[in-house]
């Protein structure tokens, strides 16, 4: 199905000039001198894929900083994904973080006869339309809150916030009780088979329910459904939008207004929403429209935003912790009270770094989801 030559042409790695700019901007390479995107590309090309695969491919956090900087837009993250796929084919065992629980949940979800009961978190004040061709894709937030509850993570608040915003903006939507994980983490790990099983199950579920549009608040789900599904699924024709793409235009047109919050916040661009999906302005215009909220930028922002330091629930180690520490320090340096992010995974990874802090050397800034913050700015009686 996938061969090295087509991947080489798709990812344009032959255009690699061996200039090393990718390695200069790579956050992993900064803390781990052994990791070198340029060398990985050159080695694979030199041996035409026949040599042993560098173990360092597993250190890549898919933040796309290298793709951003590359003069010829060589898609290094896609290339790494393919190398991982090849490594898995050769029988490499992945070192999962969190005991592999997230991946196991994904594999169980991919099973055909699964009937999830995943809507228990839904508060009563949220109105859901029964017959509607627009679905809100919740993603794995309910699972994350159970798995990472001991870190004090509440990613479900982001989903609730998003639904309240949609209710307030009078945009009808429905929820799909048996939606599966989008499968992004499996795709990033090179487990294409697992990813396809989830993608097909999702497509089947959506077409059965006549869904034409999907709104989601998770950047990972957004990018996967919008960009990766059409690549892998022939009949996928669902229009996917991110919640900030729905709310921000309404605010700009004056059809929707947020409330007031006396706080100082800084916005952390998730890699998948920013560099991958080019959604930089919408979250900022949402934050700017909250009265009384002072928004400050971190040293690295927008295209240059530092990643939260980990991606597909595997190979998390000292290097990842260093990146998280650096990002939190940048947030602390702005003097903000809250670090606002749009991605549940950033939320979890940064919280984890705060929880594991030794000697109190990690900035303990409060972390909040953008939808949660926006919904909380609305007065309670106005929420429903």
């Amino acid at each position: 199905m996938i061969d090295l030559q087509s991947v080489i042409s798709d990812t344009k790695v032959r255009l690699c000039l061996d200039c090393g700019k990718c390695t200069v901007v790579c956050p992993v390479a900064r803390y781990d001198p052994e990791f070198n995107p340029r060398r990985i590309v050159q080695e694979v090309l030199r041996q035409n894929g026949r040599g042993p695969i560098d173990e360092k491919i597993w250190s890549c956090i898919s933040c796309s900083m290298c793709v951003e900087r590359c003069n010829y837009n060589v898609k290094f993250t896609d290339f790494i994904r393919f190398l991982r796929y090849m490594a898995l084919e050769k029988g490499t065992e992945i070192q999962y973080s969190h005991g592999g629980a997230p991946q196991t949940i994904m594999h169980i979800m991919a099973q055909r006869d699964i009937r999830q009961k995943r809507l228990n978190w839904l508060p009563e004040d949220i109105e859901i339309s029964k017959q509607c061709d627009t679905a809100f894709f919740v993603g794995c937030a309910p699972y994350f809150d159970v798995l990472f509850g001991d870190l004090g993570v509440k990613t479900g608040e982001g989903s609730k916030g998003a639904l309240r915003l949609l209710n307030r903006a009078q945009i009808p939507f429905t929820l799909v009780p048996n939606e599966r994980c989008c499968g992004r983490d499996l795709l990033l790990l090179g487990d294409i088979e697992g990813f396809l099983a989830l993608a097909q199950a999702n497509m089947h579920e959506f077409s059965r329910r006549g869904i034409k549009n999907i709104i989601t608040n998770c950047p990972e789900c957004y990018y996967t459904l919008k960009v990766d599904y059409p690549k892998f699924l022939e009949n996928w024709d669902i229009n996917v939008v991110h919640i900030t793409e729905v709310i921000a235009p309404l605010i700009e047109k004056g059809q929707f207004a947020l409330g007031r919050l006396e706080q100082k916040a800084t916005y952390h661009d998730p890699c998948t929403l920013g560099r991958y999906s080019r959604i930089f302005d919408q979250p900022r215009s949402i934050l700017a429209s909250v009265e009384g909220l002072e928004v400050v930028e971190m040293a690295d922002n927008r295209e240059k935003a530092l990643c939260c330091g980990a991606s597909p629930w595997a190979y998390c180690g000292a290097v990842n912790k260093q990146i998280q520490k650096e990002r939190l320090a940048q947030a602390g340096a702005t003097g903000a009270d809250i670090l606002v992010t749009a991605c549940p995974k950033c939320h979890i990874h940064l919280k984890c770094a705060q929880k594991n802090a030794e000697n109190n050397d990690v900035c303990q800034i409060e972390i909040q989801d953008i939808c949660d913050l926006a919904a909380k700015s609305l007065l309670p009686q106005e929420v429903s």
Partner: protein, 149 residues
């Protein structure tokens, strides 16, 4: 169809119960597989869910009675992981009763067999009713067109 049960038994009181059951010649189905771990605190949500991914119908965590852990703190860890795994099973629609935490005194072979047979009976009952529900929905398909809800 056998009901596959995976038992995570701690090296101490949990394992002694299984050894006693064997020594006494007590009968339990061959579909019960035992994995010996040093202490139940070694077992986490990932491992428990992995057992279900690989086709276990039930999982039993078999350990020392409260306060008798040789390492001192199994309950602190395992209760947390047990609760997490149960919530996830429930969310996946797999019924949380498939996972049980059993604490037995040392050398209680009869206790182990009773508990494992109870788990098998419960899992079989749930699977049977689930099968019946699926069969029902197949029968009515094509006759009535229920709305998606």
């Amino acid at each position: 169809m056998y009901t596959e049960v995976l038992v995570f038994a701690c090296n101490w009181d949990g394992w002694s119960c299984i050894e006693t059951a064997t020594a006494l010649g007590l009968h339990y189905p061959a579909s019960v597989k035992v994995v010996k771990v040093s202490c139940l605190s070694r077992v986490h949500t990932g491992l428990i869910l992995k057992a279900f991914q690989f086709g276990a119908d039930g999982v039993m965590l078999l350990g020392c009675e409260q306060g008798r852990c040789r390492f001192g703190a199994d309950s602190e860890y395992i209760i947390n992981e047990y609760e997490k795994a149960r919530s996830i099973l429930e969310m996946l629609g797999m019924w949380k009763g498939r996972l049980v935490l059993v604490r037995l005194p040392a050398f209680d072979g009869h206790g182990f067999v009773t508990q494992v047979m109870k788990l098998i009976a419960e899992v079989e009952q749930v699977s049977a009713s689930k099968r019946a529900r699926i069969a029902d929905s197949r029968l009515t398909r094509g006759i009535a067109v229920p709305s998606h809800s």
